[in-house]
Symmetry: C2
Subunit: 400 residues, 2 copies
């Protein structure tokens, strides 16, 4: 019998994704099965990524996890569900007859360290990237090659969409056991090179209602949500898929805005009502509509998740002018060069007509900063051993 | 043949009404027919009323109207529709064989003067009270005794609900000609004497989207609104009627809050989206939910129309504590005794537990003032000639 390995370490990176047809509400809380399908855009890891090192060793006495340098509770149900699922897949693989030269014992404990290259306080949903990364890393460790949607999903529903680059759908599935509730790529990251994404990080007021509890209350109390899921989303998924495949920005942008608004409408129809949109969010919405009205076409589109940050889609020929419009209506309080992060955006002047169209309202400091990014690839393995976040002892390396 | 009268003057008062099952969206723009029924509470005229004097004379050369002392455009389509309708009813009455001892010529022009005893800037929908008052006054002038729903409705949809006191429904009707789209009283003003109404007038930011255009866009673009009107409102109307008839405040309050939220949800599902709820509105919503959670029962309920002002329902045994809670979370910037208008409310201290439940958030000056009122009667005729707003010459009397 082949001897077992003492320690296996894998480091991966995974992206953040932003849904343009929103997921909100589960039909199964344990298996994390949604009441409707969703479609997302994977953002580029140069600007936003989670890096996760997973280490498995017979010397570890318990599962442990560090997030952004801080140890968290590894007994947390979502994490344990994730681990159970990957171990189940690994066990299945072996019983299907695959031979590993040095199989790891599935009873070994796992150490996980994960860091984001973007601030957690930015309110960007990092659990999707985090669980996708974890699933991907553990799959590499255990040699699992099957679909990882379930592994990622059990950690955080939308994490399955972060398993692919480009444009990704999470098919809701019909089976009660969730085996057909999987993510698949609709188009690769190279499909629409002109598409740009701006994340407008707004000044945070109150901590928003957590999405797990929020969507549960929505499912229980909102008749509008049920109608949306059953009667409206299927056609929207088909239309959004068409928009992406045909690179129809006009239609893509309008449907993106409408779906964001409809999601937030169902939150308001929840009891007690959930409001993720702040006054600043609404001002961003107004700015986009005025920007588009001025141009007489949809040149920018907003979407908001369960928080006040705005995600704006434009094509590359409109980014500079849109950023200038944001600076105009939300004059930065920060030093100018800290306001814009990520991809470079050239400074341009606004025309007088556009300034007039945007109106006199100013909200100084309403937007803390902007991250400019684009569509990006799915998870990656890092081959460089220097990239590991855990040392040979399985503990986090000292911060650089 | 009886000679015609030279001048006829009638002065009436009419109330404001607040919908608890909301009207939003027309199936006929010209006849003002709604896509769903609605149910409202008539507020007491001691606190809020419109006073209207209608004068008709053969000496008048044109229709003229003064609102709060300022002359407005009498050619305005809604006003003209109102006048045409009342004249049609008067003509019909005569052709049905009713004899008036001194019939007025239906070709005479009309002068109308109307004043509110509440500030227009308060954003309280005064067109309902105004058109109800006009319809009622003109009916008295012309001796029309039939149902005035259509007359009032043609001026402003919800005005038909101001034709009655107490609790009023506006049945949407099914006929294309709108003859069955009428208001009727569900319960009189004496039915629920413990019910109180607080109007929280918030500091106005931007002028909100007008409701006529807003609801038209909603009908055109929101699938959630169509579903609400067809599938949800009928059962809500039945349930709200039950709540009123049985004086079930728990259920009345919850359904009121849910319907307000659902109305605003359909506004958000409109494209471009309409947001009537400001950050202050949302803070009021949070306050009510925390107040109720503290008491473990629904003791206060909010509803919002097409604007940021909050209307709160409570029973009389909760008013004082709720007003104290508002003062606590929205400390008045005004001199204390200008903050509370209308019915007297005794000052009470908040318990420490309630203060803790309300949380640390303070919004100084967020609420400009409160009007405390209750359920009230329908339109009234003023018999005192001194009450006329127009002199014998048909022109506004000098302001007192």
């Amino acid at each position: 019998m082949a001897s077992e390995k003492r320690l296996e370490v894998v480091t991966c990176t995974a992206p953040v994704n932003i849904a343009v047809i929103k997921y909100w509400g589960k039909r199964d809380e344990e298996l994390i099965l949604p009441i409707n399908s969703s479609l997302s855009v994977t953002l580029h890891q140069d600007q936003l990524k989670t890096t996760t090192t997973a280490a498995i060793s017979r010397d570890f006495t318990e599962d442990r996890i560090w997030l952004n340098g801080r140890e968290e509770d590894a007994g947390q149900p979502r994490l344990q569900a994730c681990l159970r699922e990957i171990r189940r897949l690994a066990r299945k693989r072996r019983s299907d007859g695959h031979e590993d030269p040095l199989p790891l014992s599935l009873s070994y404990k796992v150490h996980v360290a994960s860091v984001n290259n973007f601030p957690t306080a930015a309110g960007l949903a990092s659990s999707a990237a985090g669980y996708a990364c974890l699933a991907y890393a553990l799959a590499r460790v255990y040699g699992v090659e099957s679909d990882l949607s379930e592994v990622a999903r059990r950690g955080s529903g939308s994490a399955c969409r972060s398993l692919y680059g480009g444009f990704v759908e999470w098919q809701m599935g019909e089976r009660a056991d969730g085996k057909d509730s999987i993510a698949r790529q609709v188009a690769p990251e190279s499909h629409w090179p002109e598409l740009r994404v701006l994340i407008l990080v707004v000044s945070t007021e109150r901590k928003p209602t957590g999405s797990t509890a929020g969507m549960q209350t929505s499912v229980e109390t909102s008749a509008l949500l049920r109608f949306r899921a059953e009667a409206l989303v299927p056609a929207r998924m088909a239309e959004m898929t068409r928009c992406v495949r045909e690179r129809d920005f006009q239609a893509f942008g309008q449907l993106t805005m409408k779906d964001s608004n409809q999601f937030h409408a169902t939150c308001l129809d929840t009891f007690p009502p959930i409001s993720y949109l702040s006054d600043t969010s609404r001002r961003v919405i107004h700015l986009v509509h005025r920007f588009n009205a001025h141009h007489r076409r949809t040149k920018a589109a907003y979407t908001f998740d369960a928080g006040a940050n705005a995600v704006i889609f434009t094509l590359d020929d409109a980014v500079a002018e849109f950023v200038a419009a944001v600076r105009h209506s939300f004059p930065p309080e920060l030093n100018g060069d800290k306001f814009l992060k990520g991809l470079p955006v050239e400074p341009v002047l606004l025309s007088d007509e556009l300034k007039a169209a945007l109106g006199a309202d100013r909200t100084p400091g309403g937007i803390k900063y902007i991250i400019a990014t684009r569509v990006g690839p799915g998870p990656q393995v890092l081959d460089d051993p220097g990239a590991h976040l855990l040392g040979p002892d399985g503990l986090p390396k000292a911060a650089a």
